[in-house]
């Protein structure tokens, strides 16, 4: 009896431990592109990658609290800096894998269509979905755009905060909000369910970059670095581009300071 209980317990607990794959925690805006890239990677190299989604803030926080992550891909520098301060990153591996832009979207059947950030202050726009600014980079960029347009106070009470950027997209898709701010790649993935009314000027918010870095506590640092290298390679970049991501601003192999 005791033995069978022990065996059941072992079976329940073991699957996670025996998996040979690396665990990648990635900003959820990368979902479609990375899913494809990791599948390609598996066919080409035989190495499997387990993907974990969330907002960059959620993921950074999980890593800080000891989540067994090998590679972290954030949608902003802020989260990487926070982890860097805690000294748990392999700094030499830090590199930007892609860039993106912020767009204003409305439900496709929506009649009103605010065609600039400033127009969101209009009374006809009743609810605006953005990412929760502290943990969702897209929300932080949106707040910066509001500040720049001088409408931060005017829109405050209209804001619905998504816990990641895909939730913001979903609110707009379902028509539960009048408008939302998401990445161009998210809007693209939604097809004709949402309409892009304008691209936010890149000068009014921090640069939207996706930094990736190997986590120091990982036991599979080399395997993690191999996958990162693949993402920076021609094949990896082609895959990201297919989903609307723009290439990194500088030579991709160079680690950023």
């Amino acid at each position: 009896m005791k033995r069978s209980i022990a065996m059941i317990l072992a079976a329940l607990l073991s699957s996670a431990m025996y998996a040979e794959s690396i665990t990648v925690a990635a900003a959820i805006s990368l979902k479609d592109a990375l899913t494809r890239a990791s599948a390609q990677y598996k066919t080409e190299t035989g190495e499997s990658v387990e993907l974990n989604w969330g907002s960059s803030g959620q993921l950074a926080n999980q890593i800080l609290n000891g989540a067994p992550v090998d590679l972290f891909i954030s949608a902003a520098e802020k989260q990487i800096k926070d982890l860097s301060k805690a000294g748990i990153l392999v700094e030499t591996t830090r590199s930007i894998v892609a860039t993106n832009s912020l767009v204003l979207i409305v439900p496709s059947e929506s009649k009103a269509s605010p065609d600039s950030v400033k127009a969101l202050a209009d009374g006809r726009v009743t609810r605006i979905a953005i990412g929760e600014p502290e943990s969702v980079p897209a929300g932080r960029y949106a707040e910066q755009a509001f500040d720049h347009a001088g409408i931060a106070d005017a829109v405050r009470d209209k804001l619905i905060l998504g816990t990641n950027v895909r939730q913001v997209l979903d609110y707009v898709e379902r028509g539960e909000v009048s408008a939302g701010l998401v990445y161009a790649t998210d809007a693209k993935s939604a097809g004709d369910k949402v309409r892009v009314t304008c691209t936010v000027d890149a000068g009014v918010h921090e640069a939207i970059v996706y930094p990736a870095v190997v986590v120091k506590t990982s036991a599979k640092q080399e395997a993690a670095a191999r996958f990162l290298k693949y993402l920076l390679s021609k094949k990896g970049q082609a895959c990201l581009r297919e989903f609307g991501f723009a290439p990194p601003p500088e030579p991709t192999t160079k680690a950023i300071k």
């Binding site: 803030g57 926080n61 800080l64 502290e134 943990s135 619905i160 905060l161 028509g175 539960e176």
Partner: protein, 221 residues
């Protein structure tokens, strides 16, 4: 305590008190009727009232959105005719908390009604009490204790509701409930900031549990 916490507490109280009242209005007559009579479909109705107790709150949230959201089977008409959607509104949070809290109010209340000795009610009836008088002056006072424990438990449950609330009410700027604010603080990596809300909820829940236990024990003794 900072002003943010007071606002959070105030919103939480508004939602949980309203939800408890809503649950009370629905559950009290049902508990009374179901403790007294048998009718076709009774078990199904009782099952529906009680099932949120074991159902994940996310399922409750899903069902509310699937019925009353802009694209919901009922919500699409509300949206078309009145431009109304339950999402992100306080009514949504109240409805979610009420559904989740109702079983805790319903069960002890029904048990209290069922435990009343029928003789007492028969005496009142013989003395000429009509149905409402019978309920108001005899049955209800005798079931007060069970009803009160139910109300306390339901209130505690409503105050702590997270899963359905976060789906239906969402996270609005400067408008979060206590449990949602704890989740947000954690997500932002600010465990310290959540401490006040965590302590408050622990304290209130413990106090209510102790009160409930005491009334349950004294009823036995």
């Amino acid at each position: 305590m900072n002003s943010g916490l007071w606002l959070t507490l105030w919103l939480s109280l508004r939602i949980s008190v309203s939800a408890t009242l809503l649950a009370l209005v629905v559950a009290l007559p049902l508990a009374y009727i179901n403790a007294r009579s048998r009718y076709w479909g009774k078990s199904l109705l009782e099952g529906l009232i009680i099932v949120p107790m074991v159902l994940p709150p996310t399922v409750v949230g899903y069902l509310i959105i699937a019925s009353l959201g802009v694209k919901g089977w009922l919500g699409q008409y509300l949206h078309q005719w009145f431009s109304y959607s339950i999402l992100f509104r306080i009514e949504g949070a109240i409805l979610a908390a009420a559904i989740v809290a109702m079983p805790l109010l319903y069960l002890p209340t029904r048990a209290a009604f069922a435990a009343i000795e029928r003789d007492m009610e028969d005496v009142a009836r013989v003395m000429g009490a009509n149905r409402f008088q019978l309920f108001w002056h005899v049955s209800l006072p005798m079931a007060t204790r069970g009803l009160l424990s139910g109300v306390m438990l339901a209130f505690a449950r409503a105050l702590g509701e997270f899963g359905a609330t976060v789906m239906v009410f969402g996270i609005r700027m400067n408008q979060t409930t206590l449990p949602v604010s704890i989740y947000l603080d954690y997500e932002q990596g600010e465990m310290q900031k959540a401490l006040a809300a965590v302590s408050l909820l622990c304290f209130v829940s413990l106090a209510i549990t102790l009160l409930y236990n005491r009334s349950a024990l004294s009823r036995q003794g």
